[in-house]
Symmetry: C2
Subunit: 422 residues, 2 copies
């Protein structure tokens, strides 16, 4: 686990600054980054060097929000509106995971592609089905990725064929799932996953809050994705002051509970302040918010308030797994927001988008997503072979092209916590 | 040149309807589509059949607007605003094509990638340099693509290092270029290319109009891309009623002159009506308009008015060469426009975007971009190998995923006017 990577190294220290070292040395000891050096210090001279001279080396990427069962139907029926899409595509497809053999075939495709991708850390929704969720966790564990996986809870406002019988049944299934998987996998951990307020009864939310405390689990859900959903939550939880408050009232909105809320496209001032106060992570999912016509999240505002934030592919609201693509999408929609909605919110820069996809989201997993000393060594060696160029380019320029132009299989080597996957 | 393609065939007859035939037969005779059949008629039984059973077969794509010299610096410096980007990136890079050997290396990369892509027809800007433009035309001709190439005219408001000396010099160079290349290539034809009104003096525009008449050339330029540019044109040509009128006054705005205008993001009612009246083609470039913060063109309006229209990658305002990606981009920005700007303009459907990228733009080249009988046989056999799926899918669903998920090298076979390129 002690080694040196040599190459053109690039990482974020903070959202504004990109560090680059040409022909540098990244030292990894016991899975942890010791440092990045222009010249290799004498004391590391004995370590084996993997020489990737001329190649870009960047931190592994984090996907803070994806629906694993939706991977195999991504990029389809995208002409439909959200509710029609859920009812004719997402829900019927998710119901298929009742069949564990189907689940194994479909999740195999997802995990193989995830492994090939630049993503080293991932927080994902499975379905409500226990056996299928276990299959997903087994496949992920084998793959060498590090993940949080959520068996989904949903006991109301869902089609009969994809709805748990009662709050009690949903809670019991969750406890059983935790018993079976909570300590089974070193790299693959459970995360509590109420689908969203409309599909979880008050009783279920209370039971899940109790389970959260007992097992000390992190939490993921959805927040303020579109206007119809926000009004619906107000009707369902009339005593809530805003959508996020409906989670907060039961104690599932950050604070001591590590929490990810996906989307936050239409979060108001109060909700935004509470996210900041509670340290709730925002999973910004630009492509999904475009495809489902939700709108464009005010990411500049969240960055300025220093709310913890990362990127999500949100497959299958988003069609594309790559977090490099999510960076480009985030920049692009922020430009359209600046032009069409609010000239005062400056578009994201490339450095900021890269930060969100690496250190920003990675920090949900601890010291992850950077090559600062003490960080867990998730690293990618990039393959620029498909995008040749005739001129001299800087490391920043090469990284920027890669963000805009790379595909899912343009990763040459991948390290997770100091372990080489390929 | 007489053969049959067998596979899952999909093409547009008009913007609303996608035709699909599973296990169908596409008959090509002398480079022209005879028809698509569910069962192969007896009289074609003697033709050789290329069997691509299980694979999607679609018409070749048309890129109505791309800057060939900008290909090798696509996806870089995208954090800059348009004018800064032109001055620090586009103009200095284009100036390098003064060096014909550099041009050959850079254009080789472009033409190789274009050949591998789904694009069979392309209208492109070169630079103002004659020898480099000839090199580009030679490489394109060898590649088997069918293209229009424009030596760029620009005699004002351009940096010294990338500006022609006078209107007369620019016109003379154009005549010389036409003499050298006008009849030199069966597949690669010149197109008159004033860069845009701000970089062409009144005298130059008049000289170009005379050349257009003498040589009966098609024309391409830019129109109403952003507000600053529109005001600038108004200052430069104070007698013009709107931007398009500045072209129209010299006779370079459609009518008997086949004309493409790129962008049309902010065309007003009069300009739109004149485009319709004159049959001016709009090259819709959604990714470029996003990257350069120009805005989102009202494509639904143009479709309803039946103005001829196709898609443009507009590399390097756009970063991505693929016209499949341009289809996805067009759908996505149309959704954001519907949400953020104008709820009355319904987003583009997949079928409409596919039409624009095939028959819509292809019609600039004649009967191109469809498998309707009598069309020139440009065809692609698609490689879905990188996007496996565990369920049954319809042809429409497979095409939609391909639009959202394919990369530039996912074309298995490519035919241009009945000739197989690979």
């Amino acid at each position: 686990m002690n080694f040196v990577l040599k190459g053109d190294i690039c990482w974020s220290h903070d959202a504004q600054h990109l560090n680059t070292i040409k022909d540098g040395f990244l030292v990894c000891e016991g899975g942890i980054v010791t440092g990045v050096f222009k010249n290799l210090p004498e004391k590391y001279a004995g370590l084996p060097v993997e020489d990737y001279s001329g190649k870009l080396i960047v931190p592994g990427l984090t996907d803070l929000h994806i629906h694993a069962p939706q991977y195999v139907f991504r990029g389809m029926k995208m002409d439909l509106e959200l509710l029609e899409w859920l009812n004719t595509s997402a829900f019927p497809e998710e119901a298929k995971y009742q069949d564990t053999e189907y689940a194994r075939r479909a999740y195999r495709i997802f995990v193989d592609d995830l492994r090939k991708s630049g993503t080293t850390r991932c927080c994902m929704f499975a379905t409500l089905h226990l056996p299928a969720t276990k299959v997903l966790m087994e496949l992920l564990e084998e793959s060498g990725q590090i993940s949080y996986v959520g068996k989904v809870n949903m006991d109301r406002n869902s089609p009969d064929y994809l709805c748990e019988e009662s709050a009690e049944a949903s809670a019991e299934a969750t406890v059983q799932w935790l018993a079976e998987t909570g300590k089974a996998f070193p790299r693959t951990k459970p995360i509590l996953t109420p689908r969203f307020i409309p599909s979880c009864s008050d009783e279920l939310m209370e039971r899940l809050a109790a389970i959260q405390k007992e097992y000390n689990l992190p939490v993921q859900s959805h927040l303020s994705e579109n206007h119809g959903e926000i009004s619906w939550v107000q009707e369902l939880v009339p005593e809530s002051r805003f959508y996020g408050d409906a989670y907060d009232r039961v104690g599932l909105f950050g604070g001591n509970v590590p929490t990810i809320m996906a989307h936050c496209v239409h979060s108001g001032e109060e909700e935004t302040e509470l996210m900041k106060k509670r340290g709730v992570y925002i999973a910004h999912c630009p492509q999904s918010n475009t495809n489902l016509m939700s709108g464009i999240a005010p990411v500049r505002t969240y960055l300025e308030k220093e709310i913890p934030m990362g990127l999500g592919s949100d497959v299958a609201g988003g069609a594309v797994l790559s977090i490099f693509r999510a960076m480009a999408d985030a920049i692009q929609v922020s430009k359209l927001r600046a032009v069409l909605v609010d000239h005062n919110l400056k578009p994201l820069t490339m450095a900021e988008a890269f930060f969100l996809g690496t250190k920003g989201g990675g920090s949900f997993f601890g010291k992850v997503g950077s090559f600062d000393a003490g960080y867990e060594c998730d690293a990618l060696v990039l393959d620029e072979g498909k995008i040749p160029y005739p001129q001299e380019l800087t490391i920043e320029e090469r990284l920027e092209r890669f963000i805009y132009l790379s595909g899912n299989d343009d990763i040459l080597h991948k390290f997770v916590k100091g372990r080489r996957l390929f």
